[in-house]
Symmetry: C2
Subunit: 571 residues, 2 copies
């Protein structure tokens, strides 16, 4: 099997997704009352891998890791923030998009994983506006091209400076032979309502569109002379602050002693050999079997009060566990492409997990609890979009309820041990329990619950399963209700798990990725799912085509002075 590009993900050091504002190289964050400003000024020599310079505010994975961190911190550390302005520290250039040299030298897997993460971050920006009352405003004080404009498209509003030259543009098709794949094509027509023929013209016009035409075509919301630019953006931010439904932080238990925000203190994963341990999560890699076992430990107890939850902050189980799961997903995606099957397990007291879930439900109107719930939502969606086979293993000693049950339901299959392990008979049989987390609190990207996707087209089965909410379900009941795939007993368990894992490892990794990406998304699609489905799949196809990635392809030839030499045949 020829591998044409160096596989940076495995050749280099592990990718770290941990950062904090004090360490940012590319973004700066400032908060003034209810308005935060994120300013992009990319360090040209700060690429996450070598071999390219990040000129003109172009970005690579490292730049986007900082952006993701900033978006997360604004939600958790700044409950007072109700509007976020994205702008640039450069003159006349907001952002030139993903760095082309980086794309040209990156392996196919790196490109695909990079695009997935950037897409998730942009969906997260929209989620902050929709679910946290933090409205993002793109203040384009210069040209926004390619991924730069796609970042603006993820914002609720776009203001473009009218200086006679700054434009918005999607030059990927004409210059690079690839798609505006970070949501660009989808958001143009599906989010902003740009007419499809105009979108076609726009996406084939390398120099882009500016001024009143950009407004008329709905590419931006407003274009403003340079001298009025700051005030115009500020007016929009103030208006967004007024309209924000974000819970008043002064009502939060943490108020009085400061902003009420919760500091996202550094995670402390420790890796020894093939095992990585977080506080509540363990990763065991089995390179022979091609698997990763992810064990999430449930909570030991429940906060005594909302105030206690706020006081615990990042140490509280509901927040700590989801942060660790998020980090584990991102790290494994980037660093362990050859471990194709993830075995998802939990361990802990189901009663404590159920009580924690109930606690979160009770206090869901609290801003922090809401943020924690939304974070679980986004993190389980990352599982939906992860190109690994996911098997949930539900064994005695597990605690699959609340948000952890959604982790199981995100899996491609659920195996639940019926009864107990003979040699470990003191641990009672596993149970699962449905609650509001599965019934609406953590919807998939399509808006349907995972339960509704599961029973797509079988309303009666959905109703029957839903009616068991709040009940502990043993394996036989869970199987009968269709909540688990199989419920082998102790006699069969070890053999059957071994067989299904071996079998999975024998299949084409590509075919599995494609199969899972189709079976996981039954039901309606919206622009978020279309970005991960239709748009990403086409982009991945193009990323493999010689016309883009070949030696004479457009990505490789860009900037060399030579034009790409295209095979003209349409496929």
């Amino acid at each position: 099997m020829s591998v044409t590009h160096e596989d940076q993900a495995t050749a280099g050091l592990p990718v770290s997704f941990a950062t904090e504002p004090g360490r940012y190289q590319h973004w700066s964050m400032s908060v003034e009352g209810a308005v935060a400003t994120l300013t992009l000024e990319v360090a040209e020599d700060g690429g996450i891998t070598g071999g390219y310079e990040l000129k003109m505010n172009s970005y690579d994975l490292g730049v986007d890791i900082e952006l993701y961190d900033a978006v997360q911190r604004l939600r958790f550390e700044h409950p007072e923030v109700r509007a976020v302005v994205l702008t640039s520290g450069l003159d006349r250039m907001f952002c030139a998009g993903a760095n082309i040299r980086m794309l040209a030298q990156a392996s196919h897997a790196w490109k695909v994983n990079f695009c997935k993460f950037t897409n998730e971050t942009r969906s997260g920006i929209e989620d902050a506006t929709a679910c946290s009352g933090q409205t993002y405003i793109a203040a384009l004080n210069g040209t926004a091209a390619g991924g730069g404009y796609e970042l603006a498209l993820a914002c609720d509003q776009i203001v473009l400076v009218d200086d006679g030259s700054s434009a918005v543009a999607l030059p990927e098709v004409p210059l690079l032979g690839v798609l505006p794949g970070t949501g660009g094509l989808t958001r143009l027509v599906d989010k902003r309502g740009v007419r499809r023929d105009r979108a076609d013209v726009f996406a084939t016009t390398a120099e882009g569109v500016r001024g009143e035409k950009a407004v008329a075509w709905r590419l931006v919301d407003e274009t403003v002379k340079a001298r009025d630019f700051g005030p115009a953006v500020r007016r929009r931010a103030d208006e967004a602050v007024r309209r924000s439904a974000r819970a008043d932080e002064s009502a939060a238990p943490g108020a009085g002693g400061g902003s009420g925000g919760v500091a996202l203190t550094p995670l402390r994963p420790e890796t020894a050999g093939d095992t990585t341990r977080y506080d509540y999560l363990r990763i065991d890699r089995d390179r022979g079997a091609g698997t990763v076992t992810i064990v999430i430990a449930g909570p030991a107890g429940v906060p005594a009060s909302l105030a206690e939850l706020h006081e615990q902050g990042a140490a509280a189980w509901p927040l700590a566990a989801v942060r660790e799961l998020d980090d584990a997903i991102l790290s494994l995606r980037a660093d362990e492409p050859s471990l194709g099957t993830w075995l998802l397990k939990t361990e802990g007291d189901p009663a404590a997990m159920a009580a924690t879930s109930e606690f979160l439900l009770t206090h869901r109107a609290d801003w922090l609890v809401n943020e924690i719930i939304q974070y679980w939502k986004r993190t389980v969606r990352r599982l939906d979009a992860t190109s690994r086979s996911l098997f949930a293993l539900i064994e005695p000693g597990s605690c699959f309820t609340g948000p952890l049950l959604e982790v199981a339901l995100a899996a491609d299959r659920q195996y639940m041990l019926e009864g107990t392990f003979e040699d470990d008979g003191l641990i009672p049989p596993a149970v699962i329990r449905l609650d509001e987390f599965s019934l609406g609190l953590l919807p998939t990207a399509s808006g349907l619950t995972r339960l509704a996707v599961r029973f797509c087209g079988c309303e009666a089965d959905l109703r029957t399963a839903t009616a068991t909410a709040g009940q502990d379900l043993a394996a036989a009941d869970a199987a009968r209700l269709g909540l688990v795939t199989e419920a082998p007993d102790d006699l069969d368990w070890a053999d059957e798990m071994r067989l299904v894992i071996e079998e999975r490892a024998s299949f084409s990794p590509d075919a599995l990725t494609g199969m899972e990406a189709n079976l996981r998304f039954a039901g309606p699609e919206n622009y978020e799912t279309k970005i991960f489905g239709r748009l990403s799949a086409w982009q991945n196809w193009i990323f493999q085509r010689p016309n883009a990635a070949g030696a004479q392809g457009a990505l490789r030839r860009y900037g060399t002075g030579q034009r790409a030499d295209y095979d003209r045949k349409r496929v």
Copy 2:
């Protein structure tokens, strides 16, 4: 640019999509009252290209061309038919799916085009059930594997013989390293409501599922012992006949003198050099510019009555023109991959076209008129799914109204000449006119009209445009309403058309295909659009991956006794 596979589409003879039951090699059609039976018994040595044997009722493009022909003829030639039974002439084998050797030796372009056509034919089967009251029943008298089961999935009902061995199966992932891409994965979860974890198990179980489990998993509707199989299928067919909403053919003008059906007489395209002429359609190939100009001539007049339309049959403009357009699309897709831009033109009397459109609207309850309308619907949808850039050129002398306006609205861009050509001043300026064809009669695959897709997110623009229905719109009005992209005058027309065509030809064909496939499908998705979007895009990606198509990939190694050697990395 390396071309790794022989490009059969251009190396061989042109693909002919013309056939008729008397010439079928693989299917036979019998009609008994209201029930038709299509029996598959593939001629092993009847492959459309050489190099493989079509064993076990496996199929290639030639087999599917016959199926498409049969489905069309049942709609037009057999108004009395209300149920169609699909079955096999072999013992214990319904259909083994697409032929693997054919797939292994086919170029990437051939595979993609083959899959698109087979997908369209299966969508057409569903359309016959939904819109023509012809219910398709898959009578699986033997195993249906891969594309064989996917063909069954396109039927309204699936009956599987219970003989202890016959099964339904999707062995693509475990055996071939590709997807069940002819709608299989999508229809499992989205149409039949198979639970996604069971779909995962099923699609990774090479031997498939049979008996009661196949029923319990919703993979088939019924399983019946061999001795009861015929009567059980017949009962379902009779029941479908009773429930059918198909218009009673005895009410048709042609009744009394026979079945009332309209014979689909052979089309007579004549090719001389780069020009092909049909009765109402002309194709001009410009190999230098990389374009095809398709000129559809409008009707000369309107049938005096419904009886006259029936009498004219296949010679009547509304049916002849759409048949020719359908054939032209299919032929150009298969034979001319390097001509990447199609220029869509019409010529004729707009009043006659409007009157013809009105005639069809008036008589839409008639079974033949309904069939003609549904055929236009499917054919314009083929344009939506065609991997070529489509520009509509609306010039003086054209007749873009009714179904022909939908041809223009399917295009990526619409250019309309404002005023007249100076040197041809006797021909009045072009007009376009909206009518019911654009307002609901020819919906896109998503169910939205092309107008609603165009104005997705701009309800006011949609209402304003809709309000002009029935009015002739000159270029300036059409541009103002957003119905055309640009309206240059005679001074600019020739230069601008030359420039946009040259520009289009300079872009990466792959990037254009991906861009168009995204911009054309704004709005909601359903399982038909998901098959052409999400599923096909993933399949096309996999068809390019070394794990499937490489020398050690699964498609090449299948049947050699050697296992595929997979790169285990997940992307």
